[in-house]
């Protein structure tokens, strides 16, 4: 399952890449919003992990999520937002409104992220199945 990881911090991308690879995911790293969008449009993805704060102020995490959601093949895939802000309820609301499924507060344990991702993927699959059933 292919997961898009978007973060401007090289180290975090590496941690996530290794950590998710070990859990069996295939990781597509992206270091900016534009890079993420260009990756997303040409490949199928099972999910995405996006950092709230990206270098381009016009294309931050929330915006990336919004644009990902606009692409038909990504309309329902689970998206997890990463944030370092401790008091960012409004940002969170914005992110969720834009289409993110969950958010993780930095710093987080890699296991927590995997759990969260797994749960979301299952939920998403179930959702799809129920759709098919219907």
């Amino acid at each position: 399952m292919r997961i898009l990881v978007v973060d401007d911090d090289v180290a975090i991308v590496e941690v996530l890449s290794v950590g998710l690879s070990r859990a069996g995911y295939e990781v597509v790293p992206a270091y900016s919003g534009s890079e993420a969008l260009s990756c997303a449009c040409c490949m199928s993805l099972a999910g995405a992990i996006v950092d709230m704060r990206l270098p381009d102020p016009a294309l931050d995490g929330v915006e990336v999520v919004r644009q990902l959601r606009q692409q038909p093949h990504l309309a329902t895939v689970p998206i997890v937002l990463l944030t370092a802000h401790i008091i960012a309820e409004e940002d969170m609301q914005l992110g969720l409104a834009a289409g993110a499924n969950a958010y993780m507060l930095k710093p987080f344990r890699i296991q927590e992220l995997r759990e969260q991702l797994r749960a979301l993927l299952i939920a998403s699959t179930m959702c799809h199945e129920s759709d098919h059933d219907a």
Partner: protein, 819 residues
């Protein structure tokens, strides 16, 4: 004595030529008194009563008298009885006066015998006995006491001139020196009967010494300012020409007297010509100078008028007397003398008071009135003597009344001139009326107006309406550095840096074209009791005239009406600025706190992540992939280190935001840079010694905050090394440039994109390039540098160099050493 003069104040030293004239005059006098044989001075023409009468009038009239009497050099009988000077005038009667009598002009005896005039205070030669007591030629009629008054007067003028010279008001002192020249020549003309040649020589030597001192001073002044040539040369030529003419006429007169001692009365008039022509030419050249140098225009014009007022009526009276020698014209002449003398003296006094005595010290405040009182007193005595002489039957009480009237008219003369000036100003120059009306009606103190532009535009609208100018502006600001507030026309000066001396000087005299703010002809300070608030600047008048005293006085009064209102708006703006600064600080602190959360969590996330990865690895994996283990451990260490750096930067940023006091100290930049270099070498930049190139004076010292400057240099250098390719050179240059301490750090990296050059000084902003390339940084370094530079009163800018690389330039104002 050399006084450093501001550039704009340097102009033609008119005093130089004056002093040359002074010297020439005194040398000539000295020669005349010391070496001329007595026969040279004889001017009597025994032809008949007509000449006698003319001569008597000459004796009565004004300063020209001095020259005639001087020419009749009559040795003191007591000192030189052996010569029997009366032998030189065969057929003449001699009157001698007793010193005990109240008037020296009342003859007490008539004699032709030299013995009888021993101890007399004066002698009178008569061409025939009948005219004795009525019309007489008198030779040395001036008693010593009176001569001494004039001599003291001339010395007072000399002292005043010298004092003003010392106060570096040389141009004005030149005018006083002119007065000195006039009175001194006169007094010397009166002296010889009472003084011996040696006494005269001593006094001459004394005065010459003063003159030489002034002269030397002026020449030194001329030497230290090479720009005196040029325009000044024209005026100098005019002065030199008038001086040469003066000397030439003097020489002509001397030659004439030598050639024909018994028929030289006509020539004796010529001897007065140097004096008259000299003064008229002086005035004309003053006018010329006034045209070349607008500051003197007004003064020169007034002096010219004074001369015309003084000389023309005298010559009219003189001519009338000569043509119609009837007795009543004597009295007429005597009476015309009053306005003749009073007018130029009053004008001279007014000019002196305005132009010279504006320096507000004790001596200058009181010198003007004292000077006038002395002059008036001297003239009163002289006129009284003339009246007594013209009306011998005058009783002592009537004499006192006449004296009182004369004295009173002398004292009232300046007042009358003021009244005339006022009448002229209000009726002939309606501008003055407009001025007064505006001050009365239009200007009210506008408290509550918080927009200075409103006030500025109102000032400009009024000024443009009534003054013939096409450029004017209002500058304002705190201290002496003013910025443009509003302007009409298109002024090119954005900022005015004025010293108090410049303001004081500009207030009284218009610009000199050499000055850097040459577009402004007049700068009117607007000040409250405590400080200078603003300046109203005006371009040259479009009608070609300079600004007159009335303009300046009015502008000063007009501007001061707005001082309080402008001060108020300035204070309001200062409060707003302080508030904004406070808000900015608060916002900055909030941002710091928020960023601590955000920025610290990012490396922490990596650390936790890598630690998790390590923890997940089985012992087998540890063996099979030791490089991964090593890499994770290294990553944890790197992130930890970054965390530490971040914390330090954040703390510094917080400190900068918090710290208010700057600790000024004497700092040697070379030492400071060396310290930073050692510090950087220890923290990862081992190649700094090879790469860093220092350019600057190792002994240079500046006053600044060493901690802050060190932070700035460390951040700039650390950036330069971090963001430029390995092994490229970094150049740190520092020095004093145009009154600023300038320190620049230049790298040979990739430069800063134009559109990001402003942004990079904001907190947490990093270049896209560095983010994608993964260079570690907090985005706080340059924000810190900028904040520190501003705290030190300076600025920091960045620019790309022509070849690759960027150069950061720090400019700090030079501070004086704290007391």
């Amino acid at each position: 004595m050399i006084y450093p003069q501001p550039r704009w104040k340097q102009r033609l030293p008119s005093g130089i030529v004056l002093a040359v004239a002074l010297m020439g005059s005194f040398l000539l006098n000295a020669f005349w008194y010391l070496f001329a044989p007595p026969q040279w001075g004889l001017i009597l023409d025994p032809a008949g009563p007509q000449s006698v009468q003319r001569c008597s009038l000459v004796g009565a009239c004004s300063a020209v008298v001095a020259w005639h009497i001087r020419d009749v050099r009559y040795p003191s009988p007591a000192a030189d009885a052996a010569r029997n000077p009366f032998g030189l005038f065969p057929g003449h009667w001699v009157c001698a006066f007793q010193p005990a009598r109240r008037s020296p002009f009342v003859p007490v005896m008539q004699t032709t015998h030299a013995d009888q005039i021993e101890g007399a205070s004066g002698v009178m030669l008569l061409s025939d006995q009948q005219s004795c007591g009525q019309k007489a030629i008198y030779l040395n009629y001036m008693p010593f006491s009176l001569a001494f008054i004039y001599f003291a007067l001339s010395l007072l003028c000399a002292a005043l001139a010298f004092m003003l010279w010392l106060h570096a008001r040389r141009d004005h002192a030149g005018w006083l020196a002119l007065v000195f020249l006039l009175t001194a020549s006169w007094s010397f003309s009166l002296l010889p009967s009472s003084l011996t040649r040696y006494q005269s020589a001593i006094i001459l030597a004394f005065v010459s010494a003063i003159t030489v001192t002034i002269l030397a001073d002026m020449f030194i002044w001329l030497l230290v300012r090479p720009r005196a040539q040029g325009r000044g040369a024209v005026a100098l030529m005019v002065w030199s020409g008038s001086l040469l003419l003066l000397l030439l006429l003097d020489l002509l007169a001397i030659v004439a007297v030598i050639r024909d001692p018994h028929h030289v009365y006509a020539w004796s008039n010529l001897t007065s010509l140097p004096f008259l022509s000299g003064s008229v030419l002086s005035m004309l050249s003053a006018l010329v100078i006034g045209n070349i140098h607008p500051p003197h225009k007004e003064t020169a014009r007034l002096l010219l008028w004074a001369t015309i007022f003084g000389i023309v009526p005298f010559f009219l009276g003189y001519t009338v007397q000569t043509i119609f020698p009837v007795p009543w014209t004597d009295l007429l002449t005597a009476l015309t003398l009053v306005p003749c003398c009073a007018l130029p003296l009053s004008l001279a006094y007014i000019i002196l008071r305005r132009q010279i005595l504006q320096i507000d010290t004790f001596i200058h405040r009181f010198a003007g009135p004292a000077f006038y009182l002395l002059v008036a007193f001297g003239w009163t005595i002289a006129l009284l003597e003339i009246v007594q002489w013209q009306i011998p039957a005058l009783t002592p009480s009537a004499e006192s009344v006449v004296g009182m009237v004369l004295w009173g008219s002398m004292l009232l003369a300046p007042l009358m001139v003021q009244v005339v000036q006022w009448v002229v100003a209000t009726s002939i120059f309606p501008q003055v009326g407009t001025y007064q009306r505006i001050l009365r009606e239009q200007v009210q103190v506008r408290m509550g107006v918080t927009d200075p532009q409103v006030i500025g535009h109102e000032i400009l609208a009024t000024l443009m309406n009534i003054l013939p100018v096409d450029t004017c502006a209002v500058y304002w600001g705190g201290g002496t550095s003013l910025t443009l507030l509003v302007a009409r026309g298109s002024p090119s000066t954005e900022c005015l840096d004025l010293s108090p001396e410049m303001i004081a000087a500009w207030q009284v005299e218009p610009r000199c074209a050499e000055h850097e703010y040459a577009e402004w002809a007049l700068v009117v300070p607007v000040q409250t009791a405590e400080r200078l608030v603003a300046c109203i600047t005006l371009g040259p008048r479009t009608d070609g005239w300079p600004y007159g005293q009335a303009d300046r006085d009015w502008l000063l009064a007009y501007g001061s009406r707005f001082a309080v209102a402008l001060d108020y708006t300035q204070k309001v703006e200062e409060v707003h600025a302080a508030l904004a600064r406070q808000q900015e600080l608060a916002r900055f602190k909030d941002q710091i706190v928020a960023t601590i959360h955000h920025e610290l969590r990012t490396p922490l996330t990596s650390m936790v992540g890598f630690a998790d990865l390590l923890g997940e690895m089985t012992p087998d994996e540890w063996h099979t992939a030791p490089s991964a283990v090593k890499h994770y451990a290294e990553q944890i260490a790197t992130q930890g280190h970054l965390l530490g750096t971040l914390m330090r930067s954040l703390f510094q940023a917080y400190e900068v935001g918090r710290q208010i006091d700057v600790h000024w100290q004497r700092v040697t930049p070379a030492e400071l840079v060396e310290r930073v270099r050692a510090m950087l070498a220890m923290s990862g930049h081992q190649d700094i010694h090879e790469r860093l190139q220092l350019q600057g004076d190792p002994l240079l010292q500046v006053i600044t905050d060493p901690q802050m400057l060190e932070q700035i240099v460390r951040n700039l250098l650390s950036n330069a090394f971090k963001y430029s390719p390995p092994a490229t050179r970094v150049v740190l240059r520092y020095g004093i440039e145009q009154g600023f301490f300038v320190l620049s750090v230049r790298d040979h990296g990739y430069g800063i994109p134009e559109d990001e050059q402003q942004r990079i000084f904001a907190p947490f902003v990093r270049l896209e390039r560095d983010i994608t390339s993964g260079t570690r940084g907090t985005g706080l370094g340059l924000a810190l540098v900028k904040s520190l530079a501003e705290r030190l009163g300076g600025s920091i800018v960045v620019a790309n160099t022509l070849d690759a690389g960027a150069v950061f330039t720090l400019r700090l104002p030079l501070h004086v050493e704290p007391a």
